[in-house]
């Protein structure tokens, strides 16, 4: 499986996406994260574990505190990948544009739109 499979699977959950959104504002502890969500700290911890295993976040050790933060590398990787994916799809649509341009208009079924193009 491609390495991005895990992050995408982790992102399938809306709570985990919300946690990521919160972490986008800055690092936060389990307590910080549990507050805005109507979820117990153990539940938050489980989500954090999934996110960490997916490489989306990392834990910083600061004395007894364990703030979590985004892992920029994975974010950048995801973004690059999405861009390539989008470009592929758009390339296919541009081929469709070219094909449509080359198609004979009268060969198409009659269209209710008889106006000329401005």
């Amino acid at each position: 499986m491609p390495p991005l499979d895990l992050p995408f699977a982790a992102l399938a959950d809306p709570t985990r996406r919300a946690i990521l959104a919160r972490l986008a504002e800055g690092e936060a502890t389990v307590q910080d994260l549990a507050r805005p969500f109507a979820i117990s700290q153990p539940a938050i911890s489980r989500h954090l574990k999934v996110l960490e295993e997916a490489g989306l976040i990392e834990t910083r050790i600061q004395g007894t505190a364990r703030p979590r933060r985004l892992k920029p590398d994975t974010m950048a990787q995801l973004w690059d990948w999405l861009g390539q994916y989008r470009a592929l799809w758009e390339a296919q649509f541009q081929r469709l544009d070219d094909l449509l341009d080359s198609l004979d208009d009268q060969a198409a079924a009659p269209s209710p739109d008889t106006e000329r193009k401005p």
């Binding site: 992102l11 959950d13 999405l82 592929l88 390339a91 544009d97």
Partner: protein
């Protein structure tokens, strides 16, 4: 990211859907032909280095389609499934299975709306679950389906 001349909108909607919107400069009747006539489909669905080895579609309710590609390393794959609703030239719904795996498929609804003298295509791909959608995206199952996290707005990615 390159600038799109004709913006492509792709959005993750809810937990299971991917919605793609694209405008074309030609009327729905013509776009419909490009989506339903195999000799035309081949011209725009071929992927660089992956020629289409099979391209069949019977765009009627009860009909089916089968699109297959093969790559340089014997990398072959196909999408196939039944056509479940048709209203030419504006609407088609079909179910899409990857490599014949009928245990998990996507239901694809394609709408071609009149947009001035052109067409607005809206394609909604609905997966069985959030996990199935994530897997489809991550394993290229959607074959070049671009992805932008509109509803998945929690992702802190630059625009």
């Amino acid at each position: 990211m390159s600038l799109d001349l004709r913006p492509l909108q792709t959005v993750l909607d809810g937990d299971t859907d991917i919605v793609i919107r694209r405008d074309f400069a030609h009327p729905p009747a013509k776009v419909w032909r490009a989506l339903t006539e195999p000799q035309l489909i081949r011209q725009w669905m071929a992927i660089e280095g992956f020629p289409m080895t099979r391209c069949e579609i019977d765009p009627r309710v009860g009909g089916s389609f089968h699109y297959a590609w093969s790559g340089p390393d014997g990398n072959a794959f196909f999408f196939s499934g039944p056509v479940v609703a048709v209203s030419a030239p504006h609407h088609m719904t079909h179910v899409e299975y990857f490599n014949g795996d009928t245990s998990s498929g996507a239901t694809i609804t394609t709408d071609l709306e009149d947009q001035g003298s052109g067409t607005r295509m809206i394609m909604r791909m609905r997966y069985d679950s959030a996990e199935a959608r994530a897997a489809a995206i991550a394993t290229d199952m959607t074959d070049g389906m671009a992805e932008v996290y509109g509803k998945l707005d929690a992702l802190p990615i630059p625009d």
